[in-house]
């Protein structure tokens, strides 16, 4: 596995080999069991496996694994949703990063430059007229109101009310959602299946000082009965980077759904 060693450098070779053997089902039942026990019980080993799996998938997508290893991993790569998704994203990223994609960007930049030049040329007479004051008897135009650009597609945050069990403090790490502050934010909260026909009120508040930033009432559930969800739209700039809690209430039930947002622009 010489070539593999170079590509997967930085990882203990025995971890790579064990992982390949496990994924290609080359371990005995006892060995498999021992391997699984370690992943679930040994934090350090579990992290090593995650890193080695990442490197293996990257090398698989690159086509740089030794053919024998590539072949052994193919049944797993084809049947695992996780692996397929990782490989698809890597391939897409490679396409986006490829020199041809950059040529396209450069070409688009040139077109933009050309278009800007045309606009400038077209605007020259107006610039010329502005430099020469209008005669006094010409009525001045009122400054025109420039309409704000139309709202773009809102950010979407999907939260699951089931994840916080009961009214206790949050125990899972808060999930961070990147948002663009200048556009509205759509908050979707998936509810337990038994809640499909209820009406809810939603209060979004800061976790630190409990200060509410938005309130909604009479929100009806949407979607199929198995995965009902409610949806509210927060105007642009309602949330800034920070930690928030969505209190979702219906008669007899209250969910606290924590989340964190990070403003990217």
């Amino acid at each position: 596995m010489k070539q593999g060693e170079e590509i997967l450098d930085g990882f203990p070779q025995d971890v790579n080999e064990k992982l390949v053997a496990y994924l290609s089902r080359d371990l005995s039942a006892n060995q498999r069991e021992a391997f699984e026990n370690r992943i679930l019980e040994d934090e350090f080993f579990s992290q090593q496996i995650e890193e080695a799996q990442f490197a293996l998938l990257e090398a698989y997508a690159e086509g740089s694994l030794p053919p024998e290893v590539h072949e052994r991993l193919t049944p797993w790569a084809a049947s695992s949703n996780y692996a397929r998704e990782h490989l698809s994203i890597t391939r897409r990223l490679k396409k986006l990063s490829s020199p041809s994609a950059h040529r396209r960007v450069r070409s688009a930049t040139l077109w933009l430059f050309a278009a800007a030049a045309c606009l400038l040329f077209a605007a020259l007479p107006w610039v010329f007229l502005r430099r020469h004051p209008s005669p006094p008897n010409v009525a001045k135009l009122e400054p025109q109101h420039v309409p704000a650009p139309a709202a773009t597609t809102p950010n979407t945050i999907l939260l699951v009310a089931e994840r916080l069990r009961g009214a206790g403090p949050p125990v899972q790490p808060l999930e961070t959602f990147p948002i663009e502050g200048s556009i509205p934010l759509r908050l979707q909260i998936v509810l337990p299946a038994s809640h499909s026909s209820n009406t809810y009120s939603v209060v979004v508040r800061h976790i630190t000082n409990s200060r509410p930033v938005a309130r909604f009432a009479g929100i009806k559930t949407q979607g199929p009965a198995q995965t009902p969800h409610i949806e509210v739209i927060l105007p642009a700039h309602t949330l800034q980077s920070g930690e928030y809690m969505a209190d979702v209430e219906t008669p007899g039930d209250l969910f606290h759904v924590p989340f964190r947002v990070h403003e990217t622009k």
Partner: protein, 189 residues
């Protein structure tokens, strides 16, 4: 699971609430890693389910579960078997439905659209790192990554860790957008 059941699990993990919360999070991460090595539909959902089952067992009889992490191994294996049976059932059904399933090119376009949207929501330096990291291929790749690490003033290992974090954020975003109910509906329309 309800709040009392969940509290019972936390207590079984550690009497200190904060420590128990950390243990819970680590167990969840390990379960996700374990399930992601297998052909399952959603490693995260299975990790949730495994911990829910553990919580119910602990609440039912705290003396039965001496070492929660060891107990979890059995639950995880059991879930994997259930998932395998479900997969076999679904693959039989999928064969019957194969002619009406959307072709892969539309899936590819869908992924591309989601990926670009997620990239645009990431921090600029993370986005640039991802694009830059994947620029070169083959033998040039190693040299390119060395240069990139030198440019950022970090080691190759640190570069790889940064990339892994950025990829995790990107992959999570794509995964979330796929689970986004509305966008799924609009895609189907």
């Amino acid at each position: 699971v309800d709040a009392a059941t969940f509290q019972a699990l936390l207590l079984a993990l550690d009497p200190n609430h904060d420590k128990a919360a950390q243990d819970y999070r680590r167990l969840h991460e390990r379960l996700v890693r374990f399930f992601s090595l297998h052909p399952v539909a959603d490693p995260y959902a299975l990790a949730d389910e495994a911990l829910d089952r553990l919580a119910r067992r602990v609440a039912a009889d705290p003396n039965e579960v001496i070492t929660p992490s060891a107990f979890l191994v059995g639950i995880a294996r059991h879930l994997l078997q259930e998932e395998e049976r479900r997969r076999i059932r679904e693959s039989k059904a999928a064969q019957e439905w194969a002619p009406v399933v959307a072709d892969s090119s539309s899936e590819d376009e869908d992924l591309h659209r989601r990926l670009e949207r997620c990239l645009n929501t990431m921090r600029k330096e993370q986005r640039e790192l991802l694009i830059e990291y994947y620029r070169s291929t083959g033998r040039q790749k190693i040299e390119h990554h060395r240069e990139l690490a030198a440019k950022l003033g970090i080691t190759l290992n640190a570069l790889r860790n940064r990339l892994m974090r950025a990829r995790k954020e990107l992959d999570d975003c794509v995964r979330r957008s796929r689970r986004d109910v509305s966008s799924t509906e609009s895609t189907r329309r």
